[in-house]
């Protein structure tokens, strides 16, 4: 079909330059891709709550004078223990490091135990019996204007850092 040659322009040029149709196709596909990615990001952002109506992570645990060495006061609601140690006062998270159940203080055994899967901890939070993989975290303890102890269950501090009033 020699008479058809050249009807669509020289072939060499077709390979090197972008035709108008291809140009608009690429613009269109590109715009769709941008919109798809952007709407994905916007949707993820939408799904992230910006204001949480969750209970406060801090609570007042009482006067430092109440925590003589050996005193353990659990707080069921805030999921923490405040413990009078030999060197000072510290707070432990009561959330088991295994799967998040709330541990209990066993006063007769001076131990902390989890009712779900049998993990046990000593009063410094160290694991004495599995399956818990990590010790109980130590929580921030401070003093408010009235001199009362304030525990923040949202702040984990270094282990062994006791609070001395």
């Amino acid at each position: 079909m020699p008479e058809l040659e050249g009807m669509f322009g020289p072939e060499v040029e077709e390979e090197e330059t972008l035709g108008r149709r291809d140009f608009f196709t690429q613009i269109g596909v590109g715009a769709c891709a941008v919109v798809a990615v952007a709407s994905g990001i916007v949707t993820l952002d939408y799904l992230e709550p910006k204001v949480l109506f969750e209970p406060s992570t801090t609570y007042v645990a009482g006067s430092p004078l109440d925590f003589a060495p050996g005193v353990v006061v659990p707080n069921q609601e805030k999921k923490a223990f405040v413990i009078g140690g030999a060197n000072g006062i510290y707070a432990l998270s009561a959330v088991c490091t295994h799967l998040g159940c709330i541990t209990r203080y066993k006063s007769d055994e001076s131990a902390i135990a989890c009712p779900c899967h049998g993990s046990r901890f000593d009063l410094e939070g160290n694991v004495t019996h599995g399956p818990a993989p990590r010790p109980l975290p130590w929580l921030d303890v401070s003093q408010d204007a009235n001199g009362n102890l304030v525990v923040d269950t949202g702040i984990v501090i270094a282990r062994g850092k006791v609070f001395r009033p």
Partner: protein, 245 residues
């Protein structure tokens, strides 16, 4: 003219069902082709593939329990508010006050157990009959995703009664998600809509359980059954296959 003949001759009936009723092969095919719900099936199947021992009807049992779950689930939704503490009260009201509520709730629960169990047995059956092999390998993957959706539906439904079992089940489950490297904390935050298992979590699990996951499940079930036809019908015991011409 009988009543049936009169109905079949009305213009309304003819507009819905266009093929005739004569027992011809063409009409038998059209019954399947022209029906949205039937056309995922083949027009003809071998009689032996319908025998109980061929597939133990496990896929069918799973599908039947899905249909029961959709029906009972929609009915339960009429009495359920996904809020704290109303969710627990609604569950108790369904059990003790609403007529037939306890029946529907238990039917939903037992069908859910049956669906997981029969889907699992269905997979075993497919595996031991070597029905996962080409050309059916893609449908096996669709089946695996369907099993995943089934388990996610079970899990999201677990929170909705908002009792102790539900609360701790989801506490433990989302703490497992938290252990995923790098994204674990974010995944848990997005699942719960916060840092604790609370109202946001209940609402999110409710939407997943009642809308997102069922829609995905029903779409994939359609693909799954349609692929059975496209892949050459139900594959039974391999010995059975070898003997056939």
């Amino acid at each position: 003219m009988t009543v049936g003949e009169w109905v079949r001759n009305t213009s309304v009936y003819r507009s819905v069902i266009r093929h005739g009723v004569a027992p011809t092969n063409r009409n038998r095919s059209l019954i399947i082709f022209e029906n949205l719900f039937l056309h995922v099936h083949p027009v003809k199947v071998r009689e032996k593939t319908l025998r109980f021992t061929h597939t133990f009807w496990l896929g069918g049992i799973t599908l039947a329990s899905t249909i029961i779950l959709v029906a009972t689930g929609i009915l339960l939704m009429f009495y359920y508010h996904p809020s704290v503490p109303q969710a627990y009260r609604d569950m108790k009201e369904l059990q003790y006050v609403v007529d037939n509520g306890v029946f529907l709730r238990n039917l939903h629960r037992w069908s859910a157990h049956l669906m997981v169990f029969s889907a699992f047995l269905h997979m075993l059956r497919v595996f031991y009959h070597r029905a996962y092999r080409p050309p059916r390998q893609f449908n096996w993957v669709v089946g695996v995703v369907l099993l995943l959706l089934t388990l996610l539906l079970s899990y999201t439904g677990y929170l909705l009664p908002w009792d102790q079992l539900a609360f701790w089940g989801v506490s433990v489950g989302t703490n497992m998600a938290k252990q995923a490297p790098l994204i674990g904390e974010r995944v848990r935050f997005f699942l719960l809509g916060g840092n604790i298992v609370s109202e946001n979590a209940l609402l999110r699990f409710y939407v997943l359980h009642c809308v997102v996951l069922p829609v995905a499940l029903l779409l994939l079930i359609s693909v799954h059954i349609w692929r059975v036809r496209k892949d050459g019908g139900v594959q039974g015991p391999p010995d059975d296959e070898r003997r056939s011409p």
